[in-house]
Assembly symmetry: C2
Homo-oligomer: 299 residues x 2
């Protein structure tokens, strides 16, 4: 089968064998913003040369701006609830193949607000069988980091933190960014200082100004300020982790994995790292649960 | 005399009579970034036609990027401490006139960090005689909002919040900004919702994502999201106000004054608004205390 993780600005495509092992993967810049209006053509380009009859897609491709809007599934939800809401793309729209879109999740909170994810639920499904029954936490760092509380094979609730987007904005466009030298290697001491600084009294809006004062009084060099800011923001994201969050499972690209693992250990959390390929495993798991694979196996 | 509030990206010049009343004021885009390397020429342009022999300047003009770097005065400090550290510009550098730069303030915190201001200390000096002896708070909202704790005529300590800069960044460059319609009139209901939302559990990095979900589920219109974000950020800034902060004195331009006054009242604070012209009054107050005015009066 073919698994697709199709986000706003990029896409990853995976070719899997019958047992769910990834044979080949591709990363393309072809996000849904760029592919809008010609999703079938874009998909054709992405999987060129792969002729498997089953395609399972996760991510923003199921959003209002995507191919077909697939309603969110409400938490608590696990692979079974998500699988029941898989949404088929009409065969005529793509090459006669069997194409499915995985729904996102919605978490309602007691105060009447809510949070949403599209794509991360599939990555969580890719590791959920390894988590056991106790409450544990899955962190998916990124532009919009997701932190999910998982128990007994279901996502109980989750929350988004705009950590990555704020970091990029501040580096590219803020007064703080002008104080920094272009990124070289991350500085682990300055990063740790930021993670610890985030535990102080005061709001993030105040803590951010420390980037200026630490630079002004030469406590940190222009090279170190970027790592300090990264630690400060990740530290603030982790401030929301409940004390009883259990082992924290990280799913991320290698560079983010290193940073978050360091920050979580500084805060005394037990951590386990998972590969980003969890997205492909999640698609496979859901397709298997939906009974899509046997048909394909016998084709 | 002439009072100048010279910031990073703009400058205000005031012509005062002998009693300290503002006769005329000018606002120019000529900040220290633009004027770098030719401060005397820029000053000449700003005060063209005003030939008073005494000029007192506050703000970033006394920073490392300014005309002359004037060392910070440490808190606690009031008009007397600030006045003692006034720094003269050599007469030959500007037209033979008597030109002074007011130092900024630095607040050390017990954890070893510090905060700084340049310009706001002068605005505080402009209203400090009206505050009495009890602990009160002066808020100076803006790109980098300052919140100062004042008691018995001295600034005890203060803190910066990057509220205005983060708001502008998010509107101009973030995913949230793309969800908003261009600003028309502020929406006071959406603003209040943001101020209240800021009191919920969770970090700002998480709360920001509410702009997305409230838009996604049509709780707020594209026009209202901007006001909600403004309320959310100002609310976060105010989360750091101590319970015993006393009356909150606001010094700001009219539009910010309205927003902060509404937010403070929603939080149950006693508020008093002051005009932005406090900067001119502060320069006058310090010049008077330094004995600069009598010389000028008898000239």
């Amino acid at each position: 089968m073919i698994a697709i993780d199709w986000g706003t600005t990029s896409m990853r495509a995976f070719l899997l064998d019958k047992g769910g092992t990834v044979l080949e993967q591709r990363r393309l810049g072809l996000g849904i913003l760029e592919a809008a209006g010609h999703f079938a053509t874009a998909l054709g380009t992405a999987i060129d040369g792969w002729d498997d009859p089953l395609i399972v897609m996760a991510g923003m491709i199921g959003s209002r701006q995507g191919w077909i809007e697939v309603p969110y599934v409400d938490c608590p939800a696990g692979p079974r609830e998500i699988m029941s809401a898989l949404h088929g793309v009409p065969p005529l729209e793509f090459d006669g193949r069997d194409v499915w879109i995985i729904p996102g999740l919605r978490a309602l909170d007691p105060a009447g607000g809510c949070d949403v994810m599209r794509g991360e639920e599939t990555q969580i499904c890719g590791v959920i069988d390894e988590l056991g029954c106790q409450r544990q936490t899955v962190c998916l760092p990124g532009t919009h980091s997701k932190r999910a509380s998982v128990m007994a094979g279901r996502v109980e609730t989750f929350a988004t933190a705009m950590t990555g987007e704020i970091f990029e904005l501040l580096c590219a466009h803020s007064m703080l960014g002008r104080l920094m030298s272009p990124a070289r290697e991350p500085d682990s001491d300055a990063f740790a200082l930021g993670v610890i600084h985030a535990r102080r009294d005061g709001d993030l809006l105040h803590h951010l100004f420390a980037v200026r004062t630490l630079g002004l009084f030469d406590v940190l060099s222009r090279e170190q300020l970027r790592s300090f800011l990264s630690g400060l923001l990740i530290g603030h994201e982790l401030n929301d982790l409940p004390v009883d969050c259990g082992t924290v499972h990280l799913i991320a690209a290698p560079s983010l994995l290193v940073a978050y693992e360091a920050a979580l250990r500084l805060r005394g959390h037990a951590v386990r790292a998972h590969a980003e390929v969890a997205a492909a495993h999640g698609c496979y798991r859901l397709a298997s649960l939906a009974g899509l694979l046997p048909q394909w196996g016998s084709a």
